[in-house]
């Protein structure tokens, strides 16, 4: 079977298992599973508005973070800290947006936006990269596992947002725990009448770029070789695997930071606590289900966005807490990695190795 078709089929199968587990769990805890799932379907695909204003805007951070996690995992860096990197990007974007938006207001609407938005997004990228630089240094210089350091930095990021919105970046009246709204010049343009913003085009462009990079460049080959077998890559391929590890994790942080910046600049227009409903963790499921392939990440990002938009519909119309959707995500992750472990064993056995 064609590998692309096979990975698509296994993704659909994993999704099916995930939804079946959700239905079972809901039935066991006394909910009406049929009503819940149909509310979920309606929440995701019930109307053009659901697709344009609920699903697609959510897909933007998920695709960006999923691309980043795919990049990190392929480079052998287990980045569990996209949530923190997302928040770092969101804080930087808010700060730069409020600051620069004020300076550029004299330029006229179009020019102000052309100058401000790129600066906002660039700030987010840099912040996410700096946030990821900490675990890179901790790992390469001190040997601290990036799994632990990226995880812990998530909590630092959350606490930092909480401080910002009650301190330096709090709105001018000092009543609510959120920032002022970004000026129009700092906002990504939206499709009129919807919440869909230009970040989607950016995410798609980056997905194609990363795919081409992985397929046709030497650096992309070094990345894949390092992730597949770091020892062989270093010994046989003379690849500097520490460098690949560091760059992959930095790139991953940059993409998660960009996701945070695009969320503030395109969707919420303000910083507040719990800005991310767990995008950093969902991003892991997005990347794994796509088997770390950038093009497939577009599809899985859309799939999970539909799932989460559907979950909100489920909470609204069937009274099932949206948080239950985490069970579906966890099931999908598990189906994918168990299948991968099985493939690895089969391949090993075929190669005559000890199992």
């Amino acid at each position: 079977m064609n590998p692309a078709v096979r990975s698509l089929l296994s993704a659909v199968a994993a999704m099916g298992v995930g939804l079946a587990v959700l239905a079972l769990g809901l039935t066991l805890s006394g909910y009406d599973a049929i009503a819940a799932l149909s509310a979920m379907g309606a929440g995701a695909f019930g109307s053009p508005d659901a697709i344009l204003s609920a699903v697609l805007p959510r897909a933007i951070p998920l695709i960006l973070i999923g691309l980043g996690i795919g990049l990190a995992f392929r480079g052998g860096a287990l980045n569990i800290g996209a949530e923190g990197q997302f928040y770092a990007g969101a804080i930087a974007a808010t700060w730069v947006g409020l600051l620069v938006g004020g300076w550029t207001s004299g330029l006229g609407a179009t020019w102000a936006r052309l100058v401000t938005v790129p600066m906002v997004l660039l700030a987010a990228v840099i912040a996410g990269m700096l946030w990821a630089a900490v675990p890179v240094i901790l790992k390469l210089r001190f040997g601290v596992l990036e799994v632990i350091s990226t995880l812990l930095l998530n909590f630092v990021g959350e606490a930092l947002v909480s401080w910002m919105v009650q301190g330096p970046l709090q709105e001018s009246k000092h009543i609510y725990p959120q920032s002022d709204l970004l000026p129009v010049a700092a906002r990504l343009p939206q499709l009129p009448g919807t919440r869909l913003h230009l970040g989607l085009a950016l995410a798609l462009l980056l997905a194609v770029t990363l795919w081409a990079f992985g397929r046709w460049t030497l650096a992309g080959f070094a990345l894949r070789a390092t992730g597949a077998n770091p020892v062989a890559a270093a010994v046989v391929g003379h690849i500097n695997t520490r460098r690949v590890f560091g760059l992959a994790l930095l790139g991953s942080g940059a993409l998660a930071g960009l996701a945070g910046g695009a969320e503030v600049s395109g969707t919420t227009f303000a910083l507040f606590q719990n800005l991310s409903p767990g995008y950093g963790f969902t991003g892991i499921a997005v990347a794994l289900l796509a088997q770390l392939n950038p093009l497939a990440t577009i599809g899985t990002g859309l799939l999970f966005a539909a799932l989460e938009a559907g979950a909100s519909g489920m909470q609204r119309d069937a009274g099932v807490p949206a948080i239950a959707v985490y069970v579906v995500e966890a099931t999908i992750i598990i189906v994918v990695i168990v299948a991968e472990a099985r493939r690895r064993r089969v391949a090993l056995r075929a190669a005559g190795g000890e199992v």
Binding site: L151, F155, I337, R342
Partner: protein, 302 residues
């Protein structure tokens, strides 16, 4: 600083350290067998919900038992996937934590309704140890705690002895150093590792119980807030030895309790600074110690 303030600070430090200590001791056992379980964050959360449900139904001790059951359930699922099916341990652990967040959230709302706010649970009483609690300053801090804290103290020598002086401990450590060599020597590696992970899960559940029944007195979604992950850092800091893990857990309890103390002194400093202090300290300390300690050689490998 006067004496009673110091005692109050230390008492808070020990109370906050108890769930960290319980979870870290459990993870020590698991990691000595070569299995790193990021799912103990989820096991602790399941333990916390179990404690709430059990305590509502049959008082605090029923809560403790239900908490252990909750932790065991999550770690059994982890063991089936990461050891049974040989899937990546880090990602399986992350998935177990995600699943626990979803399940506990859904069960909590179906059990206590969407309101659920202000849920007040029967808690474990403070047990005063006669004699020891009369020691000045530290006596009341260490010996006027709930029974779960004393269980945690007892577990330190018990686990040290089990790990380093029993046959089970030897086979567990052998499996953690090299599964291949242990297997060649006739050790049933899979079985030993599963037992290690289950002990870890039971203790993570107990940690959830101490959080709910001896510290907070209520349940909230995602209430463990990364304590399971901090416990994993504590294991590294304690170089996989129960005694040193005890010291490391107290250190973090103190770092977390510091916010109560400093907030009354440093009025101008925003409280979030104290919230992120324990996490930053963890990173700093890890950077300092990792070079000096040695992890089980087979940690994280199938």
């Amino acid at each position: 600083m006067n004496e009673s303030l110091l005692t109050a600070f230390l008492t808070a430090a020990v109370r906050v350290a108890t769930p960290l200590l319980l979870a870290a001791l459990g993870e020590t056992v698991s990691e000595r067998g070569g299995v790193i379980n990021l799912g103990i964050e989820g096991a602790m959360l399941a333990g916390a919900l179990g404690a709430a449900l059990g305590a509502t139904a049959g008082g605090p001790w029923a809560g403790v038992l239900a908490a252990i059951a909750g932790g065991l359930l999550v770690s059994a699922a982890f063991a089936a996937i990461a050891i049974g099916a040989d899937a990546d341990q880090i990602i399986t652990g992350t998935a177990m934590t995600l699943a626990s967040i979803g399940l506990t959230g859904a069960i909590y709302r179906s059990a206590y309704g969407t309101a659920g706010v202000g849920l007040s649970l029967p808690t474990l009483p403070v047990v005063v140890v006669p004699g020891l609690s009369d020691i000045p300053v530290v006596g009341p801090a260490f010996f006027q705690q709930s029974a779960l804290t004393y269980i945690a103290y007892l577990l330190v020598p018990v686990l040290w002895w089990s790990l380093f002086r029993t046959r089970f401990g030897l086979t567990l450590r052998a499996s953690g150093e090299s599964a291949e060599h242990a297997r060649a020597a006739g050790v049933r590696v899979t079985r030993v590792r599963v037992i290690g992970v289950l002990i870890g899960g039971a203790l993570a559940g107990l940690a959830g119980a101490s959080l709910v029944l001896a510290q907070v007195g209520t349940f909230a979604e995602k209430m463990t807030a990364g304590r399971g992950f901090i416990a994993i850092a504590i294991v590294v800091l304690g170089s996989w030895h129960p005694g040193r893990v005890f010291g490391a857990a107290l250190f973090f309890g103190a770092a977390m309790a510091l916010q109560f103390l400093l907030q009354s002194f440093l009025l101008g400093v925003p409280y979030q600074v104290f919230l992120l202090l324990p996490y930053l300290l963890t990173l700093l300390v890890l950077a300092g110690v990792v070079g000096q300690v040695r992890a089980p050689a087979g940690l994280g490998k199938g």
